[in-house]
Symmetry: C2
Subunit: 175 residues, 2 copies
């Protein structure tokens, strides 16, 4: 008897290091935790849904030093932003493929917390997994604006993956 796989949505984002498009430590950790501790070797029991929300404002910061001389420059910039997102998804999809767990990945634009909740309502996963940046600087509590919002508002179960203290980069810009 074939049972439907458990559909796990993992929200992934990029590191904030400029010019180095790679997964953020927290989203990589959330993804890896899901595979190691939940999927384990039972790859046919799970399907991973990878959502990347492209934050327009954050990337807009890069564009302060850009010079736009023709409509093409805008198109090039948009293409570059899009390919950054694609690189990110490629990283995660490749990992899923290596392990043998089925997956789907897509990009949306907007405020991550709102878009994640919208996509949860649309796609109806069994579980939403979110990375969290871990310990706040001056408090001994875990922080996470996006995860906190989604725990409250997303219409599905939410798993918050905290980063280990030793995974926190000394320079927050490397996060």
């Amino acid at each position: 008897m074939e049972r439907e796989p458990t559909r796990v949505m993992v929200a992934v984002n990029e590191s904030t290091i400029k010019g180095k498009p790679h997964p953020s430590i927290s989203s990589k950790r959330a993804f890896e935790w899901t595979l190691e501790k939940m999927v384990r070797s039972n790859t046919s029991d799970f399907k991973i849904l990878l959502l990347h929300v492209h934050v327009v404002d954050e990337d807009g910061f890069d564009e302060v030093d850009s010079i736009y001389a023709s409509p093409d420059d805008f198109r090039d910039m948009r293409e570059s932003n899009k390919s950054k997102g694609l690189h990110l998804l490629e990283f995660f999809v490749t990992k899923c493929h290596e392990i043998g767990v089925s997956c789907e990945a897509w990009i949306k634009k907007g405020d991550p917390k709102d878009v994640i909740c919208q996509e949860v309502s649309r796609v109806r996963p069994d579980l939403l997994v979110l990375g969290s940046r871990g310990l706040g600087r001056f408090q001994k509590v875990f922080v996470g604006t996006v995860s906190g919002f989604c725990v409250k508002h997303a219409e599905c179960q939410v798993l918050t993956i905290k980063r280990n203290a030793d995974e926190t980069p000394s320079d927050p810009a490397d996060d």
Copy 2:
């Protein structure tokens, strides 16, 4: 190669209906979700750690109408409280046994949110699963004092299981 099972702590509590010791809807749902969506048929990959925190104040309410005439009455009351907790754990342990997933269950006394975090620090599970009572009465957001606290403070990953709207009893006392 034998890998360590994923250790999942599920915090369970009783329904607030008086005189009817059975699992609360939210903790039963959290437990069932864990088995159905995460453990699935991979029972040897997981170990379930069942923690019940006995809330002293809440049970104290029952004792308003009690008459204590001898030291034995206090002992009887304590025994009765203890056996209520045992019934609860028996329910969950029996389920685990039927399914074939290994488990451990124990009772602690105190404020659930504090005790759960203390036990997480002591036992070091891979994941803490908590039920949540679902939608707030006047807001379209999910509430959960204990789960909110544990997401922030527990030193492990935290999964909050929300109840379906149709599982909310019309009378909150039946919760």
